[in-house]
Symmetry: D5
């Protein structure tokens, strides 16, 4: 059994049971973003968290153990994603990449926005012209220094 198998088990159980990620998150008392990423095989759970997930999705003990191991990360099947929803995000990086780079450097100098000390919040933004997806990304700025 590999961590990918655990992801498949969770996903299959979720579909059969009709669960929502938001409800799973409440059981973990964590955000739905982190919870979903963990269930999709991208984050590492503590023993307590793994037991909650195991119970929620009826996982065997081996799967519960694997949830506590740091996974090999990367959730896409190809370097340019084919799924339209995920591709739009890749397109944002493609079109706005140099813009993001310029503006962060203008504000902070040379460095990066961390993807590790990082959080994300996805929510519905009601709009009379059609509701919008509102996403807030927050990442610590890490400066390059000379040495």
């Amino acid at each position: 059994m590999t961590r990918e198998d655990v992801t498949d088990l969770i996903y299959s159980a979720k579909v059969q049971k009709g669960l929502k990620w938001a409800d799973v998150a409440k059981k973990l008392k964590l955000s739905k973003e982190w919870t979903t990423a963990a269930c999709m095989g991208q984050m590492t759970l503590t023993k307590a968290q793994a037991l909650v997930i195991g119970k929620t999705f009826d996982l065997p003990a081996e799967a519960v153990a694997l949830l506590q191991v740091v996974p090999y990360k990367g959730s896409l099947r190809s370097s340019v994603p084919t799924d339209p929803l995920i591709y739009r995000w890749y397109e944002i990086v493609s079109v706005y990449g140099t813009t993001i780079k310029e503006l962060i450097h203008e504000e902070f100098g040379d460095g990066i926005m961390s993807a590790i000390d990082f959080s994300m919040d996805i929510k519905r933004e009601p709009d009379p012209k059609g509701d919008r997806v509102n996403v807030v990304l927050s990442g610590k700025f890490l400066p390059y220094k000379s040495y």
Copy 2:
């Protein structure tokens, strides 16, 4: 002269003159995000906007004309970006891509978050443990429908 040449002219003038994107944006009375993307060759300017940019960066008439033509978009040099700052965004799509997909579908059903009817706001988020980059993305949800 191509649009890439115009981008190079703008960038070179910006460096030599020591201008800031935020100041250029004020001249256009638009956000710094859209302004930077336009100057980096990703957006189309109106004649009035192009004249402002042309004056700001001392561009020749041919360049001002090209700023009003829809460009071939895509600002990166390779499908997986090598620049660390831009790579972190690509990594977010790689690690969180399926998470983003799951949560938007859970809230909205099948469809995408538009990268066209879209805006972005990048700002500094002061934090005692080290300031953070805070980015708000807002894109209209576009549902798939059966027909």
Copy 3:
């Protein structure tokens, strides 16, 4: 079981039963284009639609549940398709891509033709020199705006 497995089950049942996509579409009271895309694992079905498909192709309950989940889209095996029929479409994008771009921008300005708020109609166009395939694509124009 994954959505790819469901697609294989449907395809195999269709071949063994000698069904036509047009007939399946009639059972769903939808176009043959959308119906086929859904059965090939690219669209999401409602519960009612999934039950019809499940009955038509003798699918197990787990498969019927998976048909109601938004799939990871993208139906081709490689970024440049090898199948001659599908390649001809890729070739049209390759040869006419910049033409399509120029003409849509000339008529509408900067923006895109949506691939989400989109429909397709494929039919036979009788012609004494050999019948033709006639395809009508209709996608909402989505403009880029400055902000």
Copy 4:
């Protein structure tokens, strides 16, 4: 001078003169689709057509000669296009590719829709919910035969 140089000369002249492809097409008495493709370096012109284009865009004699030579076709910069408008077409092929294949084969049997004996018509489709891009593709069906 290469055909790519001719395309650049035409494009640059078009922008400086503020011409429209539809008007250029009228001078050639051909569709705007074929005319644009020819000017973008994808089609071969007769001597008479090349002289019209040469006069319209003030091209040198060498360029007029090159317009009459069959070009090396393919108008995109990479196998997966980065421009959002052109990408949406690539996405249609990616998502609907197997659907298109199934439905053409169901109607016609094994074979392809020609991309050579082919025409395209792009027009605006007014719609109260937002105008649509309407594209009609017509390609001769070419059957595979056993031998």
Copy 5:
């Protein structure tokens, strides 16, 4: 069961039975080239042809049904083939590609040599300096036209 599985079944049976493609072709009363391509999963058989192949290779009914479905074509494992015999053909396209293009255009004008309305004949050409492989390719010329 997929068409690839059918190809594997045929190939395995051929090896175990020690059959020759030329003999299989005689049973179908077709060329050995088309017959081999069909058995390798690249062509579509009629019901009568599929029954002959099914009997020849002891295929189950499901395989016989799949032989009558248009397959997803493309018989190689990678875009640049690794097998030396097949690579030599790829090399011919690589080295002589522009030559072939020039000479067909010189004779016929703009257009292509069809790979659909196409036949191939492979035979031994005795030669005192070592026998040669003689291949005749015949494809209908399809002209591009303006519209």
Copy 6:
């Protein structure tokens, strides 16, 4: 000056002078296929041949010298060609590759058809249903031996 520059010089002169490859071949007293390949930068000329080509296309002495040097071969811009005429040949290799392999091995055993001790003849094959391109390829069979 590189061999690619020589190819460009030849090609440009050919277009401006309105020469045909078949006529150039007559001057060399060789086939039009080899002549074209040599002019497109894929074959090596003797001094006498290079002088004929140099005179025909008004080449400078440096170019005539480069024609006598073995070139770095490969005439295509990408591993999968984008030009429709050349792609059809690549498609033949893709669809019929394993067929060609099977039939040559059935006739000759393990080995290859040489792409070096090789010749090609391209001609028009009149046909009431539309003329055909007829290509004869002849390559020495080279057997693998055990040692």
Copy 7:
């Protein structure tokens, strides 16, 4: 069962039995280089040779039959090999490729060194500064000719 499966069976049996390739070669009365290549799925065996290999590695009859079929060649997992030993050979081709090309052409004129009419001999070359791997490659020179 495929030829890859036969390779796996041979490899697994070799490890369990602790056999050496040199000893297997002695049974075939052939070089260890050709023998190893054949066992690794790259060469075709005669019936007699296949029976020896089958007995040596306890292979089933189906495997012995497959050893006599010409395999699809190419023993590496990716176009740039990751294994350090094999990579060094790829590096030699990368660094010395143009050197090899220049020197063979200087000695022989335009043509290639055959990889088919080819043999290889790998042996230990004792050296007080550390033993060396000595490899002799011998391939027939095949000249390009004009026609």
Copy 8:
């Protein structure tokens, strides 16, 4: 000026002067293999060697200085070489790669054959059936050790 420019200068001068690599090697009192590799931009020359090369090919002082700098190595244009002579070497690595690996490990254990402490000797091997290219590669064996 870059090292690539120096390689072009050397190559162009060699063609115009009609020099042979073997003669250049004699001036350096080194093998023709190392000399050619150095001139093709893959090796580093001492000051004395660079002066000899500079005089032989009439190079400017800047070029002579660059010859003494360690170059960025790699002489091929793509990861899979298109030139038939060089491709045959790549094919040898592809077909015999695992064989080479097995036999070196059988003789020496885990480790590699060095591509740095390495020499190559290319010569003509007369043969009544057609002369052969004989290449001797000698590389120090470097063992992996546990630590």
Copy 9:
């Protein structure tokens, strides 16, 4: 059973048993770095070492035999790694690659730092601003020589 299967068996047993690599290394009396690499399928074990590993992880005899065979090395799933921790190392090579090259050449001349006669030591470096990962790499310098 392949070496990849052995790696999976070891990894699974390690997770179920809650072992640490450092403890496994102590049993082998070797560094934790070499031990982990060997268990991850990158190094070759002696019989004695393989027996210790087999006992530690309850491996079957076939697995113990495979541990003593030189593996096909390369532990990543794609040429650009997707896992953030491993990517950071790839990024170091991307950003600092030419720097490392310049400084090693400045100190040692032309040659390489061996990745075979190589060791690595990873440890925690306490730091009040947050602990650091300290890695010491030591590789023998191997000079290129002329010959």
Copy 10:
């Protein structure tokens, strides 16, 4: 002028003047590692640092300005480097990647070793069996946290 042009100017001047990176570093009073990376176009200089570099290498004012702008990072020409020295580092990541991942996670838990808050020290390690390259990498550990 672009930052790549500045790198070329610096590199060319360094070669012509015979400077050493270690000496340049002393002028900046920084490590030779950071200094070289900055000169190779990977780091951002302060105004004071840029003036020192400009004076050292006789750079024009425009180049001195560009040195103070954050560059687009990534110093290699392809995703898998061809230069043998740099490749060995890529190989270390390929072979030891999963080992590094396992050991850092065992010591620190889930997170990464920063490539931003990072320093490198390259030095000669004398050794009677041949001197070694000793490299110390130090990067802050950044933990993933749940949120």
